[in-house]
Each structure stands twice: as C-alpha cells, then as structure tokens.
Symmetry: C2
C-alpha cells in the first residue's frame, strides 16, 4: 500500500500548496479546517462523487478529470445562485496509482482554482481495492432567501437554458462510436465539452434576484425539466425547434437525425435550466449577455397535466422514451 504509506508526503507535496490562500486549512496539517462566510450569507454546499468506470473513463487525462470534478459541483452552486468559495476533496486511489497521476491531477485542480477563485479547504486520501473514486464537497455562499431552488416554478413563467444543449452527450456518443482520437479530430469542441464542462459561475449573482426556479442540466434536459416539474408541482412544455444548438451539434444531427434524442435525454451539459417571470426575463437575459452568456427561451411553465414534461416540434408532440441520462 504505497499510497497510504506515502499519504502525508503526497499531501505535503501536491495538495497543501492548493490550500495556501485558505488560512482555515492550516496547510492541511490538521484533521479539521474552518472557512469564513461573508456576513449575512450562509454556506451553500454541493457534494458530487465520480467513480472510475461509472462516471469517467479510467484513462481520462487526470488534469481534465480534476477540472470535471470541480466544475460539476460549481455548476450546482451556480444554478442555486451561490458564489463559490472552496472545496473539500476525498480521493480514494488504487494502490498502484502513479505519483505522476497525482501530480497531473493536482495541476488540474490548481488551474481551476485560479479560473474560479477558489481554494482547497481540506479532505482525505485513502487507498481502495476498487476503481479510482473522487468525492468533492464544494462550498459557496449566498443569502439564504436568495437561493434558487427547483421548486419555485409557477404557471405562466418562461423556461430558458444557457449556452447550447447536447454538445457533451454528442461528444460522448462520438467517443464511444469512433474512439477518443478519431472523435477529437472531427469534433474537438464536442469532445471538449464532454471532458471539461464550463459551469456558469458568472451567472450566479444574476439568478439570485431574478430566476424563480433553476437546476443545472446534468441528468439531461428532459430529466432535469422533470425534476423542476416534480419539485414545483407544475408541467412544462418546450419546443424542440427552439433548442439552442452549436454548429457542430447541428452537423452531427443532420448527418444522423436519430441522434436528435440525445439532445433531450443526453446529460452532462452543465448549462443552467431556469424558469423566470416574463417581467424579470428581459433583465436576466441582458445581464447574462453582459457576462457573455446567451440565454435562450425554450418553452413555458403550464399547469396542464400532472407534473409532466411535454416536448413539441412545430405542430407535433415528440415521444420521449427515456427521461434521464444513464451513465455508460
């Protein structure tokens, strides 16, 4: 068990430097860490665990994996309107993990800490006889009465998404079909969206005052619409032809229209799906545009039916076979 024996060495060498801007982490030399929250705000937390073979390919580059781990949780915080502060990391590694893997993983963490202005607050490292397993507890802050939930949708509100939909799931489909190298040479933007999502962190302060309900799209557009419908007790109707698609996604769909279902059921977009009153939506769109984020209307909150997601394309109703993305 080389890693357990070297645990303190690994922490000192690779992880302690990532905590240096967090005084409450005391260089990861203690079993506990504290952090501070701005006066009047509360700590907002998201926990995400990624398991090798379930949520990522074991051969995924460690730096990308580090970023995906961070970004998946920052996406949850962003959708809730919370500003990220830092994170706790639990790393369970096979005993034969190379030190070079740890070095690259830590470099990925470091780059994203700079990108998003966060720090490592603490954590734990262990060995495991199973696959590599990464659990991250991201901490942010928000006013408790401004946290945006899944449960605030009401009939009459408009439904929006940020960015473009389906790129990541199409990227994964292409990787599985033609292999990483081939997929990456033809559609680098789709593959990149799968490997390293781009959480909408800058949108958090804009959502808090304006969105009525929100969620980040991780389980797939229809699956996450269903989460809002269930939590809010509403139905939502969206128009397939209004979905914002990237140029590459359009090319893949034109080449093979059966991939259309992936836009609805695919996951890992890490865009924000939100509901907003007509009065607030214009300001929300323009504030988001100031941050370089396009927000596109895709449908309405209705109260017909029983917590039901309805997808139309022109005059036709789209049959939805599977409402939620299944991990490969």
């Amino acid at each position: 068990m080389a890693l357990i024996e070297g645990e303190f060495g690994l922490i000192d060498k690779y992880f302690a430097p990532l905590s240096k801007s967090a005084p409450g982490a005391v260089n990861l030399t203690d079993d506990v860490a504290f952090f501070e929250v701005s006066p009047g705000l509360v700590p907002v937390v998201s926990v995400d665990t990624l398991v090798g073979g379930v949520h990522f390919f074991p051969q995924d580059p460690p730096g990308n994996l580090a970023k995906k781990l961070i970004r998946v949780s920052l996406s949850d915080l962003a959708a809730s309107g919370a500003r990220p502060l830092g994170y706790f990391l639990s790393l369970s590694m096979p005993a034969d993990t190379d030190e070079s893997w740890v070095a690259e993983f830590a470099r990925g963490l470091c780059e994203d800490q700079k990108e998003f202005g966060i720090a490592l607050f603490g954590g734990d490292t262990t060995v495991t006889s199973g696959p590599l397993s990464l659990s991250l507890t991201a901490v942010g802050e928000a006013a408790s009465d401004k946290i945006v939930r899944r449960s605030g949708a009401k009939p009459g509100q408009r439904v929006f998404v940020t960015g473009t939909i389906g790129d990541s799931a199409l990227g994964l489909t292409l990787i599985k079909k033609m292999g990483m190298r081939e997929a990456n040479s033809h559609f680098p933007d789709l593959v990149q969206r799968y490997l390293v999502p781009n959480p909408r962190v800058k949108l958090a302060p804009i959502l808090g005052n304006r969105a009525a309900a929100s969620i980040d799209i991780s389980d797939g557009l229809v699956g996450d619409l269903a989460h809002i419908c269930k939590a809010s007790g509403v139905s939502i109707s969206i128009d397939f032809s209004m979905l914002p698609l990237s140029t590459s996604a359009k090319r893949v769909i034109e080449a093979n229209p059966t991939n259309k279902g992936i836009l609805l059921a695919g996951g890992d977009d890490y865009e924000i799906l939100l509901c907003c009153s007509p009065e607030n939506s214009r300001e929300l769109i323009s504030k988001a545009a100031e941050q370089g984020v396009v927000v596109t209307e895709i449908g309405r909150v209705t109260n017909q039916g029983d917590r039901f997601v309805r997808v139309t394309e022109g005059a036709c109703v789209v049959e939805i076979e599977d409402t939620s993305w299944r991990h490969f």
Copy 2:
C-alpha cells in the same frame, strides 16, 4: 445497475427523513443545501472516508458502520473544540447491495443523529464496481480563535488523554486472532470499542478555552503524539506506566505482554490527546469530570531533541518500532 435506477427512491425512502430537522436540506430534493452557523462562529469541517476491506470488514453490521463513520468525524470536531451541526454523505455502493443493507445503515445514522443532535444536510449516492465506500463531511461550529490545533504545544505543558487507551486496537487484534464471535464472547467491551467508538463530543466546549493543542487518537497514541510534535515543533515525553487502561485491556496485556506495543501503536481510540498549561489543567480535568470524562496525565511537553516522542517505563526507555497504526 439497480441502485442507480433506484437512486431517487432510496433517497426519498431512507435518507430524506434524516434531513427533516435541517430546513436548508429541503428534504434532499435539490443539488445544493445550505446550513446556518451561529453568529460570530465559523463552519468547522472534517472529511473522513472509509473503504471496505481497508477501514472496515465488508461483513461489519451496517448500523455499526454508519455510527463509526459519523463518530470518526465527530471525534475530529470534538478535538478541535467545535460543536457538531450536521453532515454531508457520499455513498458509493456495489450494484448488488441489498435494500436491507441501506435500511440498516440509515437506521444507524438516525440513532446517532439523535445521540449527537445532528442532521443529514445532503450528499450523493453512486454505484461502484469496487468495494463499498463511504465519505462523510462533518460540519460543526466554533469561534475561529478558539479552534484547538495540533500546533499549540509548548515546553512545560502537560500531556493528557481522555478515557482509556488501546481498547479498540486490542479488540481488533482479538477479532483477527479468534474471529468476531469468539472475541465478542470473551471481550465484548474491547470489540465494541473497535466497532463503535465513542467520540468525546461533550468535551469540545471545555477544550476551546483551556487546551493549547489537541488531536483525536486515530492513528495510534505515538503516531498522534508525533503529529503534535511535528506541528508544534516540540518533543514530548510520556510514561508508559501512566497510561489509563481498562480492566479488559489489563487482562489481555497480562495474558500476553507482547500486546503492550498495541497500546502505543494501535489506533482507533478516538480519545482526545491534549496538551495544557499547568494553570489550566486542573480546571480542564474538573470540567471534564462533570461530563463524566476522566482525563489522565501521561507526560510532558519538552524541548529536548527534534520533534521527538520519547516513551519511558519507570527508568527504561521504550523502543518504538512503528509510530503509526497501519490499516489491516
């Protein structure tokens, strides 16, 4: 992957009820949760991961395992002087995990939530192709300037431990030697100490104002003394004959004196090891006694040598072969 498909069902049925006293957890229906900290205090966090086959036996009773997971982290918070508030849980389970396992595990969590006045704030559940893996992020609160660290030990201070030392490691040794059933019939108290540690939560408010340095004993007495020496830049000398031992531990040692080393190097005591000035120690001992906790002096902080742990027994120096407990 029965568990992933049933993930939301499991959460609603077994875990959401554990969050009902935490309004910021919104019944575990959201990707984020918030919690509140008393005015003037900061959130204090401890992360601990337990992996099947590394930190526990796969056949350990799920309720005991749940309690061990919670208590290991509460022990860290207690040693730092923090009052526990709640926890986030990440559960990675093999796909063939029985629902009855989850039910028993959740019952153990529920019992300990009542025991320690804490709530489940949030978490994540996934499947894994590896062993069961449990990661808990415990959250407490304390005044940032009252958090007791490993680094506050100074020459002249006295060194104390709570409770008795070595019971848990002796329990594990007996389980490995004679099997759970046999060990449990002869030494139920030692086996119980291994299965379900008893964190010194009540001591937290007493430590904050009086202890100069502290750590919970998880890596073994000498290993954790070494952590204090390293962090504080001091040496510590303890007297083996002053170690507080339970009646059962004394019996095991008398029957086989080679087990003595387990008292020094064994782990999982989850007692508190602390350093305290002579002026503060009398009050600390009497306040702890009011809470039913015996605090025993075992040695002194010296400045001889270079961050060195010295163990004497009468006039003899005890040779220490291994300063830290290795997981089985």
